[in-house]
């Protein structure tokens, strides 16, 4: 798995590609930490090219939420394939996150005052 990191204005966009599992979750975690270390206040995780996610991937996202809240970092997630979205739904994690159908909806949320 690889994670492209793109800065679009004040939004840091992370684009994981491939399969996010116990072996690759560290790469995803490092990408989030990199964005945080650079001072990101708005992070968008675009899952359009993600084919698979396990609890390791979900765990990485959840492990950052408390810190994001503390640092007032806004997080949005978008463009999940149905089988990826289903993994969030099984655990009810989808209700705790700001998940959008596409990047423009996610950007609109992140750019809200």
């Amino acid at each position: 798995m690889e994670v492209a990191i793109i800065q679009e204005g004040d939004i840091w966009v992370l684009c994981p590609k491939g399969e996010l599992d116990a072996a690759s979750s560290i790469v995803f975690d490092e990408a989030i930490e990199k964005a945080e270390a650079q001072g990101a206040q708005k992070i968008l995780i675009d899952f359009e090219e993600l084919e698979y996610i396990s609890s390791a991937g979900l765990g990485v996202i959840l492990s950052h939420l408390d810190e994001f809240e503390e640092k007032h970092i806004k997080l949005a997630i978008c463009s999940m394939k149905p089988k990826v979205a289903n993994v969030f739904e099984i655990l009810g994690v989808d209700r705790l996150l700001n998940i959008y159908h596409n990047r423009s909806e996610a950007n609109a949320y992140l750019n809200e005052a």
Partner: protein, 142 residues
């Protein structure tokens, strides 16, 4: 139908494991979401075994997929010789507590129990066996 795979206690082999399960179950004509859930359940159990494997373990994890009488049974045999695990004592972690603790793990078994109809863990011939079962009748894609 009976299919077997043996993988090392190494997370680099998890993608091979997922492909094996996916190919084995594809002929059952399940929906894409159900198929992904079943692959995920096997991945979660094996990931857990790999992450917590005793350092001295040199053997392999044995995975057997059995389809019989409208039931899918997946047996995952942990040959590392660790002590048994009592599923009855397992308490699923609360999501909010996980978030506050900033822990990265802890959701795998909860996912497995949500996906499968039956999850049993028992000992057989000195190995710990995880038996995951799913009734197939209601799961066939329409």
């Amino acid at each position: 139908m009976r299919l077997n795979l043996h993988i090392p206690y190494d997370s680099r082999y998890l993608s091979d494991l997922r492909r094996f399960v996916w190919r084995a179950l594809r002929p059952l004509e399940l929906s894409e979401i159900t198929l992904n859930q079943l692959v995920l359940a096997v991945d979660e159990v094996c990931s857990n075994l790999i992450i917590h494997v005793p350092a001295a373990a040199t053997d392999r994890i044995a995975v057997e997929i059995i389809v019989q009488d409208e039931w899918l049974t997946i047996e995952i045999v942990d040959t590392s010789g660790r002590s048994t695990f009592d599923m009855k004592e397992y308490v699923p972690p609360r999501i909010q507590a996980l978030i506050r603790s900033r822990r990265k793990g802890g959701l795998g078994l909860r996912l497995v129990r949500s996906i499968m109809d039956k999850v049993d863990v028992f000992e057989r011939e000195g190995c710990r066996v995880w038996r995951l079962q799913k009734a197939l009748v209601s799961e066939k894609a329409s």
